[in-house]
Symmetry: C2
Subunit: 189 residues, 2 copies
DNA sequence: GGAAGCATGTAAAGTGTTACATGATTTT
DNA sequence: AAAATCATGTAACACTTTACATGCTTCC
């Protein structure tokens, strides 16, 4: 791999017309942050690095007295982005979910406390679902007018994931209610 | 938060009877690694740190000429673990999914190449699903005999997630096939 | 006039991964 | 006899986050 995923994130944003470091960070916060987040302290050095390697070109573009530097892809950067998108290399996948870790160790707790823990996890999934439907999805929909559909696809996958997770946990919550006997879900009336 | 999640991972494993650094790393590789991974270079220093803080006590426990150090929780460690499990603090949730990032930028590609990318993502989800069902789930089931059920619950959530993701992507794959017109899924005969 | 937003960066601290180093025991 | 597994650790590197530092412009 020539570049790290965080670098392709920047190439992709530049390709989509998001031209400054500040704007890239803001765009990420409103879109990809759920599966790939970033920070100013990552974006600015990476822009400098990508320019040094010839993947992008920056141009000073001050707005009044306020300095600004706007970047665009070079041919080399454009090529690198497409190559990455078509690569068959296994994409990195890192998942750190403290909630699931707690669930994993829930045998330590009393049935009541374990049930409460599952309930909290379900609530958190519902809250994430709400954020996606109220904030992320509507924003992604605005891209459709310019024929940009995949950010909406990604947002839908995220929203549907949290919905799915919330109902999976709600089901589990019902099964672990103290008083409910069965090891597997009670299907008896 | 008194301790970081990686520390609670170790406390939880010790509480479950997994007593050495080596065994903890192995156990994690077979169970929690999908939502919380670790490495020897994290486990050994963390064990030393937790012992220094009084959460655990280690005892030299050589096997023949092979040195070994076995740890157990102190009261303080036991208390810290339960407190963490009952905490209402928002659990850390970090997700880095390069596959979704590629999907997000797929408008750059031709419809054919975008469809191929979706197909690769679907295959990868299917492969992860297979690993869960063939390797992780059977292992987690062995815990049931000792009345340990939540590792299996967590493994089921993981397995079901990848199944769900694979079929979501299969559905998307059908929708983005070149030749299929509609913006939204074609419900025509 | 003050707050919020635009804009760019650096420094320090924390976290995590990979590679290395060593040696005993068990399995093939 | 060799390979795999058990077992413990360190060093170097890579990566991320948080906090800091600065100053302009726009909105209330």
């Amino acid at each position: 791999m020539r570049l790290k995923p965080s670098a392709y994130l920047i190439l992709g944003m530049l390709r989509g017309g998001v031209g400054t470091g500040y704007a890239i960070k803001r765009a990420v916060d409103q879109s990809t942050r759920f599966f790939w987040a970033t920070s100013f302290a990552q974006v600015y050095p990476e822009l400098a690095h990508l320019e040094g390697q010839g993947y992008i070109i920056g141009e000073d573009d001050p707005q009044g007295g306020r300095p600004r530097r706007t970047y665009r892809l070079t041919e080399s950067g454009d090529h690198a982005l497409e190559e990455w998108l078509q690569s068959t290399r296994l994409p990195t996948f890192e998942f750190r979910d403290e909630g699931l870790l707690r669930l994993f160790f829930a045998d330590v707790l009393s049935p009541e406390d374990a049930a409460a823990l599952v309930g909290r996890l379900r609530e958190q999934a519902q809250e994430a679902d709400r954020v996606f439907r109220e904030e992320v999805l509507p924003l992604a929909e605005t891209g459709l007018e310019q024929g940009i559909r995949f950010p909406l696809v990604a947002a839908r996958l995220g929203a549907d994931y949290y919905s799915w997770r919330a109902s999976w946990l709600a089901q589990l919550e019902a099964e672990v209610q103290p008083g409910v006997k069965a090891e597997r879900s009670s299907r008896a009336p």
